[in-house]
Symmetry: C2
Subunit: 613 residues, 2 copies
C-alpha cells in the first residue's frame, strides 16, 4: 500500500493494563468515523485501477507511469518496450494501437415489475441505478476475457439493475423480494474478481440485480483489548488499513488487490494476503461472518476466539463465491502495527537455488512476513521498470551490475530475485534477518538491498496496470496461480512453461509466448506459484478465445503436475469445468445438494452456474 507506508510511522498500540480485563468489551470499544474519502480516488471503468494512474507510451518510445501514487510513477522507462519486443519476438509499432471501442452497447435492462415496484417502495431513488455504464461495470471482473470483451467486443448480458443497500435490513428486504419475485442477485464488492464470477450468463432469463455493498463500508467497532474489529463487507482494503492504522492497528491482510477489493470479497473467495506468514490467511483472520441468505440471516450471538459447535455453517461461507448469500459484515482479528517494517531483496544464481532457499526458510526458521521469489524473466521485467538512471546513479548501477554479473558470476539470463518484508519487534526481526542471511549464503545468494526490496514489493501494485497498457499494443496477458507441494514445484513450473510453448507453436501464434513464474507464498508443505502468461496477437483471430484455450492447457498441465485448482483466486465460472478432476462426484453432488437446500430458488444464481445448475 504505497500511500499508507509513507504517511504512517508504525505505532505500537498501547494495550490496556490488567484492570481492563474485568471490564466488558463493549465499554472498551472504539467506534471509528466514516471511512476516508480522498479526492482524486476515482477508479477507471474500463481498465484496472485509479483513473489518475496508467502506463503511457511517449513519442520517444519510453514508457511512463502517470500520477504519483506508486514508486513507479513519473520516471521514464526506456527499456520496457524494447525488452517486450525482444522477449515476445515481435515488432511492436507505437502507432499500431488496438483501439478500444469501450464502452460497448449494453443490452436493454430487463425489468421484473413486481420486484422493481417492491424495491422502489423499500429503497430511496439514489440507491438504485439502471445507468448503462454502471450496469456494464457491474457485469464483469478483471479476467482477460472480460477485459477484452468490454474493450473490443461486448457483454451479451449485464445486470439489469444495480442496488446500493446501506444496512443489513436493506439487504434482508432485497433478498426477500428477490426470492419472492424470482430475481437473481449478484453480490458485488470491489469488482476485481478474476474467476468470471460477475459475468452474467446469457441463459439467465430472470432479472439480474447487482447488490453493490459500497455503502456498507464502515468499521463498526474496534475492540483494542480483545484485538477484534467488526467491519462491514463493503469496506475496501486500503480504507480498512488506513482507519485501523489511525488507532495503531492493522488487519494484516494484504492481497495484490487491496486497494480495491473488499472484506466480503475476501471471505467469499477464500483469499490470501502477501503477509500471511505473519498474519495468516483469511480463514485465520475472520472470527464471525454475518450473511443474508435466501431464507434468513446467518448470525451468532457472540464471538469466540475459537470454538467447536458441531456442523458449522460459517465454515461454508468461506469460498462460497456469492452462491449462498450476501456477506454483510464480519468480526476479524486485528494486530498492533508492527514496531518495525523493513524490506530487503536477494539475488540468486538460478530459480532452483531460490526455491531451495525458500524451502530451508520455511523449514528451519520463522520466515519474514512476506517472501516472494521471481524467475529470471520477471527479474528482467522488473529491471525494465526501473527508471532510467542518470549521472552518478547510472554509474553506480553499472558498477552494481558489473559486480553482480562479472565478479559474482551471476548469469543475467538465469539469475532471480527475492523480495522480503519483515514486520515485528526488534529482536524478532533481527533473528529473522540473521536466519535469512545464513540461508542465503548456503545457496549462493547475495543481498541486493532494502531499496530494491521495497521497489520489488511495491511493483505488485503497479504491475496490475501493465496488462491494460499492453492490450493497446495487441498483447494479451493474464496471471494464474496454484499451490503445490515442495517436491513438485520445480517440475510443475517447467511443465507449464513447456506445455504453453508447445501449445503456442501448435497454433502458429506470432513470435514467442511470455511465460514467467514466481513463488509468492511458502508453507511447510508447499508453495503458491503465480504464472504470468502473455502473447502478441496481431493477426490472430479471436485472440481472447485462444488465450482461454491456452489458459485451460496451462491449468491442465498444473493439475497433471500435482498443483491445485487455485491457491486463492477461486473457481467461479472460469475453472468450474475442472472441479470433476479434483474432487469426487459425491463431493460435487454435496455442493449441488447443499446449494439446492439453502437456496432452492437459486436467488444467488450466477457465480458458479456451470457447477451448481
Amino acid at each position: 500500500m504505497p500511500t499508507r507506508r509513507e504517511s504512517n510511522r508504525p505505532v505500537r498500540a498501547t494495550l490496556p493494563d490488567g484492570l481492563a480485563l474485568s471490564s466488558t468489551d463493549v465499554r472498551n470499544r472504539i467506534i471509528p468515523g466514516d471511512p476516508p474519502r480522498h479526492a482524486g480516488d476515482e477508479e477507471s471503468l474500463d481498465v484496472w485501477g485509479f483513473r489518475d494512474s496508467a502506463f503511457t507510451l511517449l513519442p520517444n518510445g519510453n514508457v511512463v507511469f502517470s500520477g504519483s501514487r506508486y514508486p513507479l510513477c513519473g520516471a521514464e522507462l526506456p527499456d520496457l518496450l524494447p525488452w517486450t519486443r525482444n522477449t515476445l519476438g515481435v515488432a511492436i509499432e507505437p502507432d499500431d494501437i488496438h483501439d478500444s471501442t469501450y464502452p460497448p452497447d449494453v443490452p436493454a435492462a430487463r425489468a421484473n415489475h413486481l420486484f422493481v415496484d417492491q424495491v422502489r417502495r423499500l429503497f430511496p431513488e439514489d440507491s438504485l441505478s439502471t445507468d448503462a455504464r454502471v450496469r456494464l461495470r457491474h457485469g464483469h471482473g478483471h479476467t482477460q476475457e472480460e477485459m477484452y470483451a468490454i474493450k473490443y467486443d461486448r457483454l451479451e448480458r449485464v445486470p439489469d439493475l444495480v442496488v446500493y443497500p446501506t444496512d443489513d435490513e436493506h439487504v434482508v428486504s432485497l433478498v426477500e423480494a428477490a426470492a419472492r419475485f424470482n430475481v437473481c442477485l449478484v453480490p458485488y464488492g470491489g469488482g476485481t474478481n478474476v474467476t468470471k464470477a460477475l459475468r452474467c450468463p446469457t441463459e439467465e432469463e430472470r432479472m439480474i440485480v447487482s447488490v453493490d455493498l459500497e455503502r456498507m463500508d464502515k468499521i463498526l467497532w474496534i475492540d483494542p483489548t480483545n484485538l477484534m474489529a467488526c467491519i462491514q463487507a463493503g469496506a475496501v482494503g486500503r480504507h480498512i488499513e488506513e482507519q485501523l492504522a489511525e488507532h495503531g492497528f492493522t488487519l494484516g491482510h494484504e492481497p495484490d488487490s487491496i486497494e480495491f477489493s473488499t472484506l466480503g470479497g475476501w471471505i467469499a473467495t477464500h483469499a490470501s494476503g502477501m503477509k500471511k506468514n505473519r498474519y495468516g490467511n483469511i480463514e485465520d483472520l475472520v472470527l464471525d461472518v454475518h450473511v443474508v441468505t435466501a431464507h434468513g440471516v446467518l448470525s451468532r450471538s457472540a464471538v469466540a476466539p475459537r470454538e467447536s459447535v458441531g456442523i458449522d455453517p460459517w465454515r461454508w461461507v468461506f469460498g462460497s463465491e456469492g452462491n449462498l448469500g450476501i456477506i454483510t459484515s464480519a468480526v476479524v482479528k486485528i494486530f498492533p502495527l508492527p514496531e518495525i517494517q523493513r524490506y530487503d531483496s536477494l539475488l540468486f544464481p538460478a530459480f532452483d537455488a531460490g526455491v531451495s532457499f525458500l524451502y530451508d526458510l520455511a523449514h528451519q526458521t520463522t520466515p519474514p512476513a512476506s517472501v516472494r521469489l521471481v524467475d529470471n524473466l520477471q527479474f528482467q521485467l522488473s529491471l525494465t521498470l526501473k527508471p532510467k538512471a542518470e549521472g552518478m546513479r547510472a554509474l553506480k548501477r553499472k558498477a552494481e551490475q558489473h559486480f553482480v554479473t562479472k565478479l559474482c558470476g551471476f548469469d543475467p539470463e538465469r539469475m532471480v530475485a527475492c523480495t522480503l518484508v519483515y514486520e515485528g519487534g526488534h529482536q524478532e526481526v533481527s533473528a529473522q534477518e540473521r536466519a535469512v542471511r545464513r540461508i542465503t549464503r548456503r545457496y549462493g545468494g547475495m543481498r541486493a538491498g532494502a531499496e530494491n526490496g521495497k521497489r520489488g514489493y511495491q511493483l505488485t501494485f503497479g504491475i496490475a496496470y501493465l496488462r491494460d497498457f499492453l492490450m493497446k499494443y495487441n498483447i494479451l496477458g493474464e496471471s494464474l496461480e496454484t499451490s503445490v507441494p515442495w517436491s513438485l514445484t520445480l517440475s510443475l513450473c517447467e511443465n507449464v512453461k513447456r506445455r504453453l510453448a508447445q501449445e503456442f507453436t501448435k497454433r502458429g501464434l506470432p513470435g514467442r509466448p511470455f511465460v514467467s513464474c514466481r513463488v509468492t507464498q511458502i508453507y511447510q508443505t508447499g508453495v503458491c506459484v503465480y504464472f504470468y502468461v502473455a502473447f502478441y496477437h496481431k493477426g490472430v483471430e479471436h485472440p481472447s478465445q485462444v488465450f482461454d484455450e491456452l489458459e485451460r492447457c496451462a491449468r491442465d498441465e498444473i493439475l497433471r503436475s500435482g498443483g491445485s485448482l487455485s491457491h486463492h483466486h477461486g473457481v467461479g465460472k472460469l475453472r468450474g469445468v475442472f472441479l470433476p478432476r479434483i474432487m469426487s462426484s459425491t463431493a460435487l453432488e454435496w455442493i449441488a445438494d447443499v446449494k439446492r437446500a439453502v437456496d432452492p430458488e437459486n436467488v444467488f444464481g450466477i457465480a458458479n452456474q456451470k457447477v451448481l445448475n
Copy 2:
C-alpha cells in the same frame, strides 16, 4: 505422553537437500510398519484409561496410583483424601463405597436381517460382534451421566452390532448396506467422547450398528520432504506419536485424551491440542479428509498446502460429530521433533495476576508451545497429588513453602500456578524463556522450576483417572470448557463459580461444591477456560440428573457471561439444546437442511439427534 518422552530423545529430522525438490513426493515417501502393540495396554471398560492404572485407597487412608505409566504412580498420597473432605465439607468414609454394579444388563440386540445377511456376506466373522460387553462399551462415552449409568444403572439402548472394518471398501459397502436396509450407523474411535454422541437414543427404532475404526489404525505414508503424512482415522494418538517419532517427526496434536482418542475423532469434534501455540489446532493440521458418506465417498485427487476451490465440503467435516459420514483417513501436516523440549512452572499471587500474565504473553511475544494456568483450588489439589516427601526432600519442600509463602508473601489460599512447555530450537526457546521471565516479574510471579512444570503437565493424564476413583466415594465430577474474549474472562470465571454455589445451595446438597477453573489455551483474542465441578452426593436422589442440571446452569451462566458453547469438546447430544441461543434460526435450518440433503435416510443418525431431527 509419559512413555514417549522418557524413551525418545528429541531427534531433529534430517531434511533432504535441494536435490530432493525435483523428485516426486511419491518416491520420497516412507511407508511405516503397523502401529505398535505393547503388551499390557488393555483399556478398562468401565472406567477411564488403562486397566493397569487406577487410584486406590489404602487402609492407612493414603491414596496410591497403580502401575508405572505416569509420574504420579507408585508413591503414596496422604493429603488427597483429607483435602477432599475439607474442600467438600463432608465426611468421606473409606468403607462407605458406592459399589458399582457394572456391567449392567444390556438390552437384547435388534437384528435387521436383510442388513445382517448382507454384512455377513461382506465381512469375515471376526470383524463382527454382538457380544454384550462389547456392545455396551460402544454405547457410551465418558460424560458423568454415561459413566454413572453404566456403573449404577443401565443404558436403555446400545448398538445392536459392532463392526470392525479393515479398509475403505469395507466401510463403503457397510454404508451402502445401511442406506439400503435402513440401518443407523455410529462411527466409533477411542470411545472418549464427552458430548453423549455415542449414547443411543431409546426412540431409535432401527438397528444401530457401531462402526469401530480400530483396525484402520495405520500411518499409510510419511512424506518427509513435504512434511505430510496420510493416517487412517482409527489411528490412536499415542501410537501416531510413537510411530512418527521413530522417523523424527511429530503431529504436534496433544489433547488430554491423546492416549486413547483417534484422528477421526479429532476431526469430527474439531479438536484442540495442548501445544496448539506451536502446532495449531486440528483445522490447522489437516490438509485433506477421506469420508464415506451415505451416498459415496468424499475424496480429492491431490493435496495442496492451501487452496481456494469454491464451496468446500471438506470444511463441513470438521465438527460434523459423526452426523455426515465416516472419516476413514486424513492427510495431515507433520513437524520435525523439536530440538529442545523444556518444562517450567510459575507461581502467581492470585488468579487475576496470572491471567494478566497470560494476556501479556499472548500479545507481546511468541508464547511457549503450551501455557496453562490453574486457580488456587486446583493448585491445592495438585499439591495433594505430590508424593509424600521424606528426609531431605521433606526439609527442602518445607523450605520452599516457607520461602514462597512467608518470604515472598504468597497467600496459600490465593496463589496459583502456571505450567509451561517450550518446544523448538535453542534460540527460539531462549527468547521465549526470557520473555516469560520478564512478564512473570511484571505480575509478581516467581519461577517454581522445571520439575514442577513437568509434573503439572503430566498430571493432566493422571487426573483423568481421578473422576472414576472419586465416584466410588459418592463424589460426582465433570469438566466443562468454554472459550471467551480476554476482557470477559475473569467475570466469566467468577459468575460460573457464584452461580454453581447458588444452585448448589438452592438444592440443599451436602457440604460444598468443588468448582475450579483453569485457563488452558491462549489466543490474541481470548482464552479457553476449563471448569472442574464436583460434589458429594450421598443421600441425594438421582445425583447424575442433579449434576446434569448443575452443568446446564453452568453453561447458561457461561453463555450469559459471553463464553462459547464449547472451545473443543463439541455439542453432541449434551449441548444441542443450547444451539438456538448461539446461532440464528436460519443457521439451524441450514444445518438441518444440509443434513437432510446429504444424508436423506439419516444413516448417521444418533450423534446430534435433538438438533437434526
